[in-house]
Subunit: 162 residues, 2 copies
């Protein structure tokens, strides 16, 4: 039975393993692979961090909060990891729906994803199904493991008019 809840201290070793696995694959995030749990905690931070758990097992995580400080803090952002072995169980969708609801409750005007890898079609389709639109494309801004270059997409969901 899958549950999404705020992260607890004891979850961090599992979240670290997840982030390392996803970062090492190198296909969805422009990021260095964190070397320690402490580095993961420093990187995987936000106003809210949640985990998707099945019992004691962490299968995914999302972090969320303002995309920019001060004059830009009314637009949120989020990042997601899902365990490769647990894909197809709707964990990404559950986390995505949680993130959208969280931003609505917190009164954000919208949600901006800054760098969705264009070849990560599962994610692109998922965000589209939640109402996100591609509002920008940065050509060739992401280097895949085979050293080819693909676009990064800026995606946006409007939550309220400002």
């Amino acid at each position: 039975m899958l549950e999404i809840r705020p992260i607890q201290d004891s979850d961090w070793p599992q979240v670290h393993d997840l982030v390392v696995e996803v970062a090492s694959a190198g296909e969805t995030y422009a990021m260095d692979v964190p070397r320690t749990v402490a580095e993961t905690r420093e990187y995987w931070t936000g106003q809210q961090v949640v985990v998707a758990v099945d019992g004691e097992t962490v299968l995914g995580s999302a972090k969320m909060g303002p995309n920019r400080p001060a004059q830009g803090a009314h637009v949120g952002t989020a990042s997601f990891v899902v365990a490769p072995a647990a894909r197809g169980r709707g964990i990404g969708r559950d986390l995505g729906e949680y993130v959208v609801k969280w931003h609505r409750v917190e009164g954000f005007a919208g949600i901006q994803f800054n760098a969705v890898v264009s070849t990560n079609t599962g994610a692109v389709k998922l965000w589209q199904s939640l109402g996100f639109e591609t509002i920008g494309t940065v050509p060739g801004a992401f280097r895949l493991p085979d050293s080819s270059y693909v676009d990064l997409l800026v995606m946006y969901l409007r939550l309220e008019d400002r």
Copy 2:
């Protein structure tokens, strides 16, 4: 006689004053106003930081480097401040030209500006004159001092094909 050169330790108090002045105006950057020179040094950082000086007087500054780590590090970015009292002397253009040349020499594939305030028309026109194109628009993502909301533009200059 205006010169652009790498920042020196003794420049930081003047750069701090500049950043505070521009951040306090609240019209061009989504940022908190730094409270100390140390906070400015932490914020105004990059692979390269330069100042535009007239003798001993700092009239502007730019910071530049990769926009993202790892898989995204071949695209650069930069930020600029120019002393309000020194506008109209071409300092922004000189800094912009320096930044473009620096990225070419360092072998970057392009330069991405992540959040150009759409009402900052002087900057928008300057970047366009240097070849930048608007590749994305985040609706209402910036709150002006009068509490109206304006768009943030993602601008990009391609330097080489990847």
